[in-house]
């Protein structure tokens, strides 16, 4: 299974984010979207991938980009995890059918029953402009995402130091 590549239209989906709310990719048409597929909630580190992106919300907002997390965990798990880690990123439950959206994006790990640690940056027309699959033990950080957003914005920002 290989991750969808740049140039492909990002498959639409509609997943629950809380017990009574659903989120579709298409509702963000008109702004960039960063999809963060990750294996599971409750990783043992306080500074995991989601905590990092949570910290960098100002940088993503600077591009008017919507960041969304997706794992196979259910909504109650997401709620508890989000509250515990004080996350402002919507977490979607790719729960039923299990991993269906991850499969559509080519990032489902059948053997483990979890998605890959994969990033997709989607433009305001819904086209994938950058994707990256990280070894599951390595947090890919945010530099690739920001570079992709900058390239899309057509502005090469000088490193601000």
């Amino acid at each position: 299974m290989t991750a969808l590549k740049p140039g492909v239209q990002a498959p639409d989906f509609c997943l629950s984010t809380t017990p009574d709310q659903k989120v579709s990719l298409s509702e963000f048409r008109g702004q960039p979207v960063v999809l963060v597929f990750y294996p599971a909630d409750w990783s043992p580190v306080c500074s995991d991938q989601l905590a990092l992106y949570n910290e960098l919300m100002p940088e993503f907002s600077g591009f008017d980009a919507q960041i969304i997390g997706i794992s196979v965990d259910g909504v109650w798990c997401h709620l508890a995890f989000s509250k515990d880690r004080k996350l402002h990123i919507p977490l979607l439950a790719d729960f039923e059918p299990k991993g269906a959206v991850a499969r559509q994006y080519g990032v489902y790990r059948e053997k483990d029953g979890e998605s890959e640690r994969a990033l997709f940056v989607i433009d305001s027309d819904g086209v994938i402009r950058w994707s990256h699959v990280s070894p599951v033990g390595i947090n890919p950080g945010a530099d690739g995402i920001l570079k992709a957003l900058e390239a899309m914005a057509g502005v090469e920002k000088a490193v601000n130091v």
Binding site: S47, Q49, L52, E55, P140, A142, V159
Partner: protein, 176 residues
Amino acid sequence: MDKSATLTQPVTGRDHVEGSADAPLTLVEYGDYQCPYCGAAYPIVKRLQKTLGKNLRFVFRNFPLTQAHPYALIAAEAAEAAALQGKFWEMHDLLFEQQTFFRPDVVSSWAQRIGLDLEKFGDDIKQGVAENHIKEDRQSGIRSGVNGTPTFFINGTRYDGSPDYNLLLAALESEL
């Protein structure tokens, strides 16, 4: 296999450095004073410094996870304000050694403990003189691929192993 991320901002005079510029090994840490994993890494770094001696240059840069750790920024500001009085490492060390006791209301007494001019310290913090330095660290960290705290860079390449003494030592020695 993915090549690991690289440091975009080299070590310069703006940095907090222990060790000499011509040491063959440079270890840069992006850290958060309230992060327990950085707390756990602190004695490991000290051990590495002891073992590698003159071969190691250690650099600390700020990456406070302000959403997850409410005191991280205050602690970073305290260390940077101490830096303005030439006592960065004293405050940095104290913050990690006493990590579990840190609260905003102990900052003054800790500044006193390390012999800082309290008036200047207080003024500097109020005026936010540390703000730019911390922002610069955060930006260079983001660009360099910091992916959590602590994130270590060995001679400019992000270390992706676990922050275990033996593994870090091996990774460092392999660069000698």
